[in-house]
Structure formats: structure tokens, C-alpha cells
Amino acid sequence: MFKKILIANRGEIAIRVIQACKELGIKTVAIHSEADADSLHVRFADESVCVGPADSALSYRNIPNILSAAEFTDSEAIHPGYGFLAENAYFSEVCESAGVKFIGPSAESISLMGNKAKAKELMVKNGIPVIPGSEGKLMGEENALETAKKIGYPLIIKAASGGGGRGMRVVNREEDLLNAFHVAQAEALSGFGDDSVYMEKFFLEPRHIEIQILADEKGHAVHLGERDCSIQRRHQKIIEETPSPLVDEVTRNEMGRIALAVVNSIGYVNAGTVEFLMDKDRKFYFIEMNTRIQVEHPISEMVTGIDLVKEQIKIAAGMSLEFRQNQIKRRGHSFECRINAESPDNFTPSPGLITLFRSPTGPGVRVDSGAYSGYTVPPYYDSLIAKLIVWGETRTEAIARMRRALDEFIVEGIQTTIPLHQKIFQDPAFIKNKFATNYLDKMMVNPH
């Protein structure tokens, strides 16, 4: 096992990794920017090194400074957390060449999964279900009609070099196809100077479901079941839960089997997450794979009892997984609410001094956070200040518990998204499992 690990991150995830290291008897080195000198992750680590100014490009993403710090502190491994350098294939590579173990997958796995088109192609080759669509750009009317027939309706036409809704057309019937195709082409040309468009199956109200996996260097891999991350705002998850109220045991096993096929297809090692889009009929399609620990990993820990960060470290140290698929026992239901330092109405950041921070207590409640009374949330980084995680025997109990935990979470001095979470956990649509990835956008438009 490693004697000392450097944690190339800040905030709650840096503390989370320090906790895992301490429980494994491993010494820790924190890095920090000048703005984070007084952070708890610095206080809790055995050693710390300032690696740059507030700007994360010059500190938390400063590869030379971080590697220097690892070198002179004799750190044997680096845990990247999430964000910053966590999915930087080059960083993984230079760590290895500098003789420091990168706690995560190989540079090859990271860069393969970082290229969405390539990854999709490989998955198709391996028989993994992906979102049906045209192979590259549509070559004309005939090609469009043919592809549409294969995919089925509704479908969406998108500009290849576009974004933000321009050059995008949802088509519900064959009669409308050619007209939409031409309009999209014209918009793409005028908007992006390129009239290439492609076609994909369209899902009206999809769910975002992901499978957590663990794979060791010996070729053993297991999945820990799914997480439902459909409550998002602008593609950023804000509430996650497991089990998904949409996923039954049969679907879970099937998704797990597919996720492990993805893992095997690229010889993936360490923790990872295979993300799927799921339609109302519980058909699911591979979207991408995240090659790191996720923000929402705690809910999987709550229902399985497995410490994912400790597993990451043990895998990186060359150890075998100590359990097989059939030994993983899931129990109960778990939710995570991301508490951000933001206005709950319009999500504008609200950094500043937290005058009082009192996290909820009692049974089934877990908080991961780097905040405390007297902490100043710096304006330079992610606005996440705490993750509130609850466990209950049933979804109903977990909802009741999350409500009371949100009610007793005291954060004074800054604005947070706690009131938004309180609203969602009182919303009948959410409680009755009637939601999709557009839930929050609809709610913001039609506040009730």
C-alpha cells in the first residue's frame, strides 16, 4: 500500500480523499492555491504545499507545480478527485512517467472516453446500445429519409458544428422531415458557416441513469447498481438518487451487464461511471463514460456500504477487489442534494463569509463539505459548498428524512440552493416519480 498520497484537488472531495487515506493509514499531502490557504483540506492533511495563485489554471491545474510538490514530499501516488485534472489524459501520463501512481484509469482509457465520437463507434462495434442516429453528417434528402426510417420518429436534426438550439429541429412525422432538414441546413449555414447536419433519435422526456463500476488490475470488475441523475439544471446534476424509481431488478442487472461489457471492451481499471439515457419504456442507450470518481458517489456508498474512494486507492495499489458481484448487497434508498453557494432563484453565485454553518444531524444523514462557521467561500471555484446525503429504508422514508435534514441545515451569511431543494422535495411530481431531465427547466418556467 502507498505510504503517502498527494491530493490534487480542493474542497469537499479533497477532504473525502484525505478521510479515505487516513482510514487506510496513508499519509496525505494537500495542495492549495493562495486563496485556499485556510481551507479545511489543508488543515486535515499531514502536509500541504501552495501550488499557485487563486486562478485554478495556475494552481489546481498547474501540472509542473503539482508534480514538483509530489516529488519533494515523496508522495507515491496522486488522487485527482473530480474536475481539474481528473480526466486529463496527459496528466495521468506524466504522473506515470514521473513514477507517481495516478489513482484512476490509464491515459489510454481517459483519452478514448474523452473522444465521444470514437467512444460511440467502439461501443457500436462491441454491441453496446447507443443512441440511434446517422453515421456522420446527412448526405442529402434521400440519405435523410432512409436514416429516418431506420431510427424512427420522433427524431432530431442537429448542426454538426452548432450548439444552443440553432440549426436544431425536432421532427415528429415523415411528412415534416424534408422541410425540417432544409431549414436546419439553412440555419446551420447562416449560424455556423457550415451546413452539415446529422440526425439522432429524439427522446422527449428522458432520464439520466448511470452505473457505478469498479475494476481491478487483475481483470475483476463489478457494478454497484445505478444512480438516477435526472434532476439537472443546464446539464448540471443537482439531485441524485439510488435506486432509480424507474429501474427494476431485471433492468438493473441488464444495465450492469452492459456497463461491465463497456469496461471489458477497453480494459478499464479503477472506478468509473457508465452513463445512459433511458426512455419511458426503460430502453437505455450508452451516452458516455466518466473516468473518475463522481460528485454523487456517496449515494452508492450509502446503499452498498462500500467505500468507493478507499476502493480506488486499493485498486491503484494493485490490490484485488475483495468482493464479487453476488456479494454486493444493496439496501434502502439514498438521495444527494448538492448545496451550492448560489441564489436559489436564478443560480447567480453567492460567494462570501459564512457566518454560521450547522449541518444536520441524526440517523441516516451524511454531509460531505469543506465549509464551517467563519469560512469564506472564494469566488474562484465551483459553487458547491456541501453535499447532503440521506439514507432511508424506503424512498418514502428517504424523502421525509431529506426534508427534515434540509429544514435543519443552517447556512447564514450567503445564499444557498437549500430553498430550491426544499421546494423540489415537496413537489408531488418529484415525489411521484413523474420527472425527466427537463424537470427543473419546467419548474423554473412555471414555478408553483
Partner: protein, 154 residues
């Protein structure tokens, strides 16, 4: 009220939990405020790898961070480490140090090297002046912003 009285008040306040103090003489107005202290200073087990006290004392701390004390002449400037690595006063073990206390340096003049990623990086002074103190320890690691030399204007 004169400067000596103010000094005395500061000395008194220094050892109390008082965080704000106001006084208006003519109409006699007093205002005293107490608050919690910065716990960061009382950290028990934490041992920094870096020669930290100097660094803490001298770095411009970010908003709302550590209390700072003015200990040196306000005219003195600091040459700080622009990268993380190992500080060397000379280009090689057998060479003379680039500068000594008393040396006069110019902007752009090399004052030390910091070894990082197996590379020797020559560090240039970003001020003109005379070296009054060498704060980095030879062959020891230095973190970003760590103080290397104290410089006074000539």
C-alpha cells in the same frame, strides 16, 4: 489622544478577543466588539513541509484570511518563488551563490535557481534593490509564493 496612547491600546487589544474598537473623543463615543479568533493559527497536528511561518507572515493573504502583521519596513520588497520546487542559491554545488546579503540586484538579474521536474529554472529578480535577508533555505523545497529574498531600495 496621541500615537503612544494608540500603541498602548493596540498592545492591550492584542491579547484579548476584541476584534473591533472605536473611539470618538470630543463627544466621547466608545465602541468595542469581540469575535472568535482565527482557528487556523491554533491548528494542532498539522505540520507543513515548507518553512511556513515566514511564508504566512509575508505573503499577501487572500481576502478574509489570516491576520497580517507589519513587521518589516514598508519600503522592503520580497522576491517570491514563482514555481514550486527546490531552492538553490548557486547554479551548482561548487559555484558561488548568485547573491549574498548586501548584493545589489537589478530587475531581470538571476538571483537563484529552483529545480522542478528535473529542470533547473533560473529565477530573476522582479525588483531593483539591495538584498537584506535570504529567506529561502538552500536545497530545501519552496512552495508557490514562498519568500526567497527580502530587498530594500538602494
Amino acid at each position: 489622544m496621541n500615537i503612544d496612547e494608540i500603541k498602548e491600546i493596540i498592545a492591550i487589544l492584542e491579547n484579548t478577543g476584541i476584534t473591533e474598537f472605536e473611539w470618538e473623543e470630543s463627544g466621547v463615543k466608545v465602541r468595542i466588539k469581540k469575535g472568535k479568533e482565527a482557528w487556523a493559527l491554533s491548528t494542532g497536528t498539522h505540520e507543513s513541509h515548507i518553512v511556513r511561518p515566514a511564508a504566512e507572515e509575508l505573503n499577501p493573504a487572500p481576502e478574509g484570511a489570516r491576520p497580517e502583521e507589519i513587521k518589516r519596513s514598508p519600503h522592503q520588497k520580497m522576491i517570491k518563488a514563482p514555481i514550486v520546487g527546490t531552492f538553490y542559491r548557486a547554479p551548482s554545488p561548487d559555484s558561488e551563490p548568485y547573491v549574498e546579503v548586501g548584493s545589489v540586484v537589478k530587475k531581470g538579474q538571476i538571483v537563484c535557481v529552483i529545480e522542478a521536474m528535473k529542470l533547473m529554472n533560473e529565477i530573476e529578480s522582479d525588483v531593483d534593490g539591495r538584498i537584506v535577508e535570504i529567506l529561502g533555505e538552500n536545497a530545501h523545497p519552496v512552495e508557490y509564493g514562498g519568500p526567497l529574498f527580502s530587498v530594500e531600495p538602494v
